[in-house]
Symmetry: C2
Subunit: 371 residues, 2 copies
């Protein structure tokens, strides 16, 4: 994984190549053994004016001639790329696939970025009326707090926790612990979401190798994967405080792995906004509806808690280069399971889970991993 940050002077292929080279060197894996490349990228053409990224990245890495394609599923683009690579390797079509998630966003103005991101929602029903993603998740948060009789404290608790974790992650975009007061007093973005309830606009890339046979003495195993979809627009969902796609994807991943929510030791969840982490933790069965909030306030999901969530810092503090996020979550899982997460290492990391969300819940990818 490259550091996440703001790198407008780089180009998108270079970012992807950096992650790919690091991954191949760490494995170690001769590029000639890789037989397919899957690139997760949401909006490279809009952000960078470059399309057809996959063969560009493949040739830069010396993966001569391999099948190379880009997979897009909004913020779950590299989760979806991982899903495809896993399907091809699990099914015996490829032996060793490289998956790279990448996005470069600093090339666009804030206004352009808002418009590019809004295209991942329902443009006719939402974006044309001015509903940006902070606005959509503001509605979700408003309803979540209302339904469960909560206030903004639980959102601030997610932000404080993830900033504390991110401060320990050398690859995080914003390595800055924040206080509860700072989170609560920050300027409002989309009520009840303040500045610190929103994830970052970042550049970066992450890469993983998926192989049919163990590659090293301590490989991380893909225990189960699930992917699901839903309608784009919030007004088409009967309840906006739960994401059916996450529930379906989790159901498949749990069934495939034989793992239940109580078996999970730690998780990387898609906290594009603080409320999304709480809802994900409930949809994944870690907590019953409304209970992720008090659990977070009580420190249960902190690094030293019983179920650490977003040890990496999450999208909130590590950063959210959209197309890179799904693979970056898996990279964190990989490091945690192998005990290589340094100062943010969780205790007794037996089973890790990743959850990658696209749009306001229209795509979800869940993975379960262990040594």
């Amino acid at each position: 994984m490259t550091p996440f940050g703001s790198f407008p002077e780089r180009n998108i292929e270079g970012l992807a190549r950096d992650a790919g080279v690091q991954c191949l060197e760490a494995a170690p894996c001769d590029p000639r053994r890789v037989d397919a490349l899957y690139v997760g990228n949401f909006a490279g053409p809009s952000f960078t004016g470059r399309n057809h990224l996959a063969p560009w990245i493949a040739s830069g890495l010396g993966l001569e001639g391999v099948p190379a394609m880009r997979v897009e599923a909004a913020c779950a683009s590299s989760g979806a790329a991982f899903y495809q690579a896993w399907a091809a390797v699990a099914g015996g079509v490829h032996d060793c696939a490289l998956v790279i998630g990448v996005e470069q966003m600093s090339t666009a103005t804030t206004e352009e970025t808002g418009e590019i991101l809004a295209a991942a929602g329902d443009v006719e029903r939402e974006a044309v009326h001015g509903a940006t993603f902070p606005a959509l998740f503001g509605l979700i948060a408003q309803r979540y707090l209302h339904e469960h009789g909560l206030d903004r404290e639980c959102l601030a608790a997610v932000a404080v926790k993830n900033h504390a974790n991110g401060a320990l992650n050398p690859r995080a975009h914003m390595r800055k612990p924040i206080t509860r007061e700072k989170a609560l007093e920050a300027r409002m973005i989309a009520d009840p979401l303040g500045l610190y309830d929103c994830s970052l606009i970042s550049d970066g890339a992450a890469a993983i190798l998926i192989a049919a046979e163990p590659w090293t003495d301590n490989p991380v195993r893909v225990r189960g994967v699930g992917m699901a979809s839903d309608r784009l627009a919030l007004d088409q969902k009967p309840d906006i405080t739960t994401f059916p796609a996450v529930r379906k994807a989790a159901e498949k991943a749990y069934a495939a792995s034989g793992v239940s929510p109580t078996d999970v030791s730690f998780a990387e969840l898609h906290d594009c906004f603080t409320v999304a982490e709480l809802i994900a933790a409930e949809d994944l069965g870690f907590f019953s509806p409304g209970q992720a909030a008090p659990a977070t306030l009580a420190g249960e999901t902190a690094l030293a808690g019983r179920l650490p969530i977003n040890s990496s810092g999450g999208l909130k503090s590590k950063g959210h280069p959209v197309g890179a996020t799904g693979v970056a979550q898996i990279a964190e899982c990989f490091w945690q399971l192998r005990g290589e997460a340094g100062k943010r290492q969780v205790a007794d990391p037996r089973i890790g889970l990743t959850q990658n969300l696209g749009g306001s819940g229209a795509t979800a990818v869940v993975g379960v991993f262990s040594l």
Copy 2:
């Protein structure tokens, strides 16, 4: 397959839905039996301002909750989507996958379209210097004619043949036979490519179902598939009159199917420009280098010839809604093999081949099909 044409008043989801509904009805297949959706689309966000197309299309078709993702590989986007769906079904991950290729291009001005398409090439080495795709294929054609001591007659022969075929295809964008004189005398676009050497800017969609088990009494079987990549820029290729990615993809597809070039009864080739059909026919082993030209002039690849190429009219006359092309090629193959191609039916259609190209040869997907 929807008719290909200019439909600026439609939206991209509606086009995709039309093809999907037709496909499900023709199978027939209850949407609830479909367990994954793969959408091939090149530049929906740039052309239409809509991204995250796959769940949008899935929910419009009633494919509730299925894994849904978009695959992009320039003009081979839906060839790549087909490749992924095939890999997932062949490997046992899915039982029945719907693949839809779609593009809407009439929403953009000619200038915008040129820029959006150019992003599929090497922007730094080519597009910034003004090298649009007609310019790149103009260089290729120039070299091809020079190497083999040919003139523009062979290019015109491809155009005349494909327009004659397209005139028989009710779904073709331009159902207009042209004469050799008309092709040769048309205004020059990028020497030696005249207006009739260039494919069309079209809107449209095509859909296929891939199932693990035979669905009907006369299913079309996927005998072999191959996909490969290459560098983006022409100046990085030692010889621009051959595409190594096509050769590699064909090698894999032939090996998997046990079919050799001489076994192929008819083929749908990626004639984004007339010269591309000639080069593809050589890279696929139908003719030795330089020999596709005289064979085409002699009528060998005509509808009544020994190896009909582009019975559909090809990208040249049927149209080229970029992301729809790969699946539309397979749809033509399906109809030909089942004897359902009407006035353009080829004689004795035992084995059909499709070849989908991305950029100036950086992606290639080849499929071999039979009853």
